[in-house]
Structure formats: C-alpha cells, structure tokens
C-alpha cells in the first residue's frame, strides 16, 4: 500500500485534475512538532482520566455515584 504520510493531494475543482506532492521540510517540521505536542496532550488526558477513575472508585467505596454528587450540586458532568 502506498505510504501517504507527508503527501498533499491537490485537486483542481474546475478541471478535476489530481496531483500529489511531498511535504516540504518546513511542513514536515510542523507535523513533527505537533506530534510531540499531541503526545503531551494525550498524556495529560490519560492522567485526567486516571484521576477521575480513582475518584469514582473512592466514591463507590462510600456507596456513592457521580450522579449522587450531581444531585448535591457538586461536580460538572
């Protein structure tokens, strides 16, 4: 299968002509930087989810659910 990473497909809407070009070094650098930034975002999200799961486990140990907290006007979702 053709590797389409760092490939820009170009379509001329008026003629239907389709061409492909490889990313420039500057464009590749933007993507590589974004990959690092995305990995950091995912790590934070995973940490957030882990914290949430731990809190829910503590709640369950008390016989409570997130809906119980909402009923008390606590929590946002």
């Amino acid at each position: 299968m053709l590797n389409m990473e760092y490939i820009n497909k170009i379509v001329d809407a008026t003629t239907g002509e389709v061409t492909y070009r490889e990313y420039t070094p500057e464009e590749i650098a933007e993507v590589e930087a974004a990959k690092i930034e995305m990995a950091e975002r995912l790590a934070k999200l995973e940490e957030l989810n882990a914290t949430k799961a731990a809190a829910e486990t503590k709640l369950a140990a008390l016989g409570l659910t997130p809906d119980d907290l909402k009923a008390l006007g606590l929590g946002t979702n």
């Binding site: 490939i7 820009n8 379509v11 008026t14 974004a34 975002r41």
Partner: protein, 219 residues
C-alpha cells in the same frame, strides 16, 4: 444648456415631470416617461427604459464534481475563485488515531483566523467564548474542525463561508458531529482576514485521512 432645453420644448416632447429626452434613432428625438418608484434606468433593444430590478437570488452549484476523497496527510482543493459564498460538506471522515483536524484557507498558516464557539476538551465540556483565544486547540492559524483523541475516530462536518470572493473579511460557521471522544469545537463561528479564497486545504495534522468525501458548493 438653455439652447438644448429650448430644442426639447420646441419638439414638444417634455410634457410631464420626470420625462427624459433621448434619441430613439439617429436624429430622432423621443420622450421617455418617468418610471415607477424603485425602478432603474436600463437599456432594452438599444434604447433607455425604466425597469424593475431583478430580485437578488442565491443559487449554489457543486464546484468539485462528484466530490473529493480525503487521503494522505492533507488534501488541497483549488479552483474555488469567483464564488462569494462557499458551503462545504465533509461526509464520513475518519483518522486512525489522535490528531487535530482543520482547514487552511489558501494554504494560509498565518494568524488570520479568529473564532469563538462552544468547545470540548477531551470528554470534558469546556465552553470557550473568546475569539482566537489560542487555548484548547482553538488556534488562530487555522479554521478549526476539532481534535481526535481516541482511535478510529469518525464524523461529519459542514462549513459555510461568506464573503469568499472579496478582499475584505470573510465569515465562517462550522458544525462538526461524530464520535464524542475528542471533538474540540463542534460549533464555532469565526472571521478570516486573508485574500479572496481560491483554495482550501484539509489537514489531519498528525495522522493520515483514512476516509471522507468533501463536496464544495459555490454561489
């Protein structure tokens, strides 16, 4: 001026308020009676006449016949000049893993986009009402569609752009729907401050487009 008015009066043509004096043929004076309120002076069969302006209508046509499939890291659709309104539908797009998805107008990566909308960060709802606030993926260098955080994400989107063929500010409205695990800005409106639109680039920044079809309608 006095002589010209005298000639008209001599001919006895200007009989009524609002009359216009013109030549219906070479050397043939003629009278055009005033039109109705809101009528405009136009030309029909080579002579002046009053006419009611046609009502303004908007008629869209599909510019990229058959649609354009999304593949690779990005897809550019060019040849969009000459349309003041653009309506874009993206059907069933998907990516294999986490990525920002967005559009760049005319491949412009400058800070020329200002948007506000209701957003999500991950699975947590976080309303964002600040224009171009630069947080949660609402960056000023792109027309944001959203962010994938999970795997095998899929969705659809529609984007309306107004003022596309002008040199001034363009407005846009974005609606994105689909897998709830990640969309940052499912509804946002914004302003683009670049030149007239001739192309759009659809980016899946850190992934490849697995699927999706873009249809662009213009008026």
């Amino acid at each position: 001026m006095t002589r010209a008015r005298d000639v008209a009066n001599i001919d006895g043509l200007l009989t009524t308020t609002g009359d216009t004096y013109y030549a219906s043929a070479a050397g043939t004076p003629a009278r055009l009676g005033i039109g109705s309120t809101s009528q405009v002076l136009t030309v029909a069969a080579g002579v002046p006449s009053w006419a009611t302006p046609a009502a303004s209508t908007t008629s869209y046509t599909l510019i990229n016949t058959g649609g354009t499939s999304l593949t690779g890291s990005s897809v550019t659709i060019s040849g969009l000049g000459g349309y003041n309104k653009l309506f874009i539908i993206i059907d069933n797009f998907s990516c294999a893993n986490a990525t920002d998805i967005f559009i760049r107008i005319n491949a412009d990566s400058g800070s020329n986009y200002r948007a506000a909308g209701f957003g999500y960060y991950g699975q947590e709802s976080t309303p964002s009402l600040a224009f171009g606030n630069g947080s949660n993926g609402n960056l000023a260098d792109r027309l944001n569609l959203g962010v994938f955080y999970g795997t095998t994400q899929a969705g659809g989107a529609s984007i309306m752009i107004d003022g596309a063929n002008g040199s001034g500010l363009k407005t846009y409205q974005v609606s994105v729907g689909g897998n709830p695990n990640g969309y940052n800005y499912p509804v946002n409106q914004g302003i683009y401050s670049g030149s007239a639109i001739t192309s759009l680039v659809f980016h899946a920044l850190t992934q490849n487009w697995d699927a999706g079809t873009v249809r662009i309608y213009g008026a």
